[in-house]
Symmetry: C2
Subunit: 314 residues, 2 copies
């Protein structure tokens, strides 16, 4: 069975047609519009394009960076409040499932990625922020109001650095790419020298995940120290999460991990295992890198549409 | 329908017969033996006593302070490792359900306590340690290995005080009765005077929850300060938990909350609400005191036995 998977992010709108084995058979991308009418028009165009290539698609799974309830979508990234997206889209005969993007990504990683064959996992992404999707018993865990998985503001250092949210010591304030950037510039301002100075575009002043990977390769001591500390914090946070949720697996994704996971994941693993209160042997709790990369969300969305179509629940 | 609920703790063995509306119709208690044969004998006696009064009991729910899997029970408190308790008990025609005590307590509070009518809640107890039972969709959330709900060693202050577990800044190291006792004695040693000095039994040197309640009533400044800080830490921890799990309700129980909840819960609530990343109005996320007191576990256990007997799952 073929289904359309769409990822509506704050920056890009991506779509693809996915078959029953998780293979992408067609794909497209454009910048995301934000006003609802333009988004609806862009989504209809994307769906029409997919149907042109594959008229037999059975449904649409649409992932949005935001809070998704049965009725509506609210999204800070898109500046949306309670938009009844599925209803506005009105694709007639083609069923549409709307899902939070982290949940869709978690579902994709469970079906065809790092958590393949498992039923209970946490999918964590580290990028400008830190997000999660949780799978319990093979299904997306949404919580009572569809708000579950807001892990980025878990406080792990209550007297620690200020977070963008106004609180102190959230994991996002310690280990997101934004936090890492702040810490590297802090070290440089403090007098340490780093290859980062030569890598960063002086106009944007932004450190990308690619810069970090390159600095690691050149064994830059500042970047190594800062990423080591971030990975240590992620490890403590992962241990605490697993203590509460007792998942079978933790899958780490997002731009920072794609670029620097080889360096960070061993530290995350070692720290997390030490923080488990009931030790589980590492083979019984793999802490893995996401296998689908940034396709997890589109593949997961399409799979959710297929499952719904097949009536197996989600 | 009548069922037997049993709570096998590290200190006391308690049992009762509970009817379908959660009322206790008969009860008994004795100190807990620890060696398995003595425990099995004591459990058989308790069951026999209940059946003498109510021959029609339909099943036994047995809650144990420890890790419960389908096959066995492991318990630090009882010094047990993988004891096949249900099989050893062998009550013949009478079905036995074995459950972790925090899970059973959470189930009791959902059925007839603070979470009555709800399907998604966290039951937290604050006593010498901090424990939790999690209910999702009306069922106990056990995790992949039956280890879920180990919230006591959630790190909230990674550079903070040493915990008994060897880590730093676990919530148990900041807000359990043990931590509170340490902090009060610390303040007294530091030169502050407190009514606690006159209340504590000089032989045991222990501060009980009752002492704390009395000191609060006398507006003792040391106890007030220490409990205020503990409640603040519990609030941050509660906010982080709700951000991840998005429950409908948080129920606080345990000896410390029973004694000092009137003082601590308003602080816990206010802090927790401020730490929610997606604000939920307080009426949509009540943070309540447990309604069943220390009967939550026996009532919950009996209800689990009834439900199993009725074939409704758990």
């Amino acid at each position: 069975m073929l289904a359309i998977g769409i990822d509506l992010g704050g920056t890009n709108l991506r779509w693809c047609v996915v078959d029953g084995s998780g293979e992408i058979r067609h794909r497209g991308r454009r910048p995301s519009p934000k006003p609802v009418p333009q988004v609806v028009a862009a989504l209809r165009e994307a769906v029409a394009e997919c149907r042109e290539h594959f008229p037999e698609v059975a449904g649409v799974g649409l992932a949005v960076a935001g809070t998704v309830t049965e009725e509506s979508v609210s999204s800070v990234n898109l500046d949306w409040q309670e938009v009844p997206l599925a209803r506005e889209l009105a694709l007639g005969d083609l069923p549409v499932i709307v899902e939070n993007d982290m949940n869709a990504g978690a579902y994709g990683e469970m079906r065809f990625g790092g958590g393949r064959g498992l039923q209970n996992l946490i999918f964590l992404t580290v990028s400008t922020g830190i997000g999660a999707g949780i799978i319990v018993g093979g299904r997306i865990y949404r919580g009572a109001n569809g708000l579950a998985g807001e892990v980025g503001h878990t406080v792990v250092d209550l007297n620690g650095l200020l977070c963008g949210c106004g609180r102190r010591g959230c994991i996002e304030a310690l280990a997101s790419r934004t936090a890492i950037e702040r810490d590297i510039f802090g070290e440089i301002r403090g007098g340490r020298s780093s290859v980062i100075t030569g890598l960063v575009d002086p106009d944007s002043g932004l450190i990308t995940s690619g810069h970090l990977a390159q600095a690691l390769q050149e064994q830059d001591p500042v970047v190594t120290d800062v990423l080591e500390r971030a990975a240590y914090h992620l490890g403590i946070f992962t241990g605490s999460l697993v203590n509460v949720l007792d998942t079978e697996c933790v899958v780490y994704g997002g731009g920072l991990i794609e670029a620097c996971g080889e360096f960070m994941l061993p530290i995350i693993r070692e720290t997390a295992y030490r923080h488990l209160i009931r030790p589980v042997s590492p083979d019984k709790l793999p802490i893995l890198e996401a296998a689908l990369g940034d396709n997890a969300t589109v593949i997961g969305s399409a799979m959710l549409a297929s499952v719904e179509r097949l009536g197996n629940g989600s």
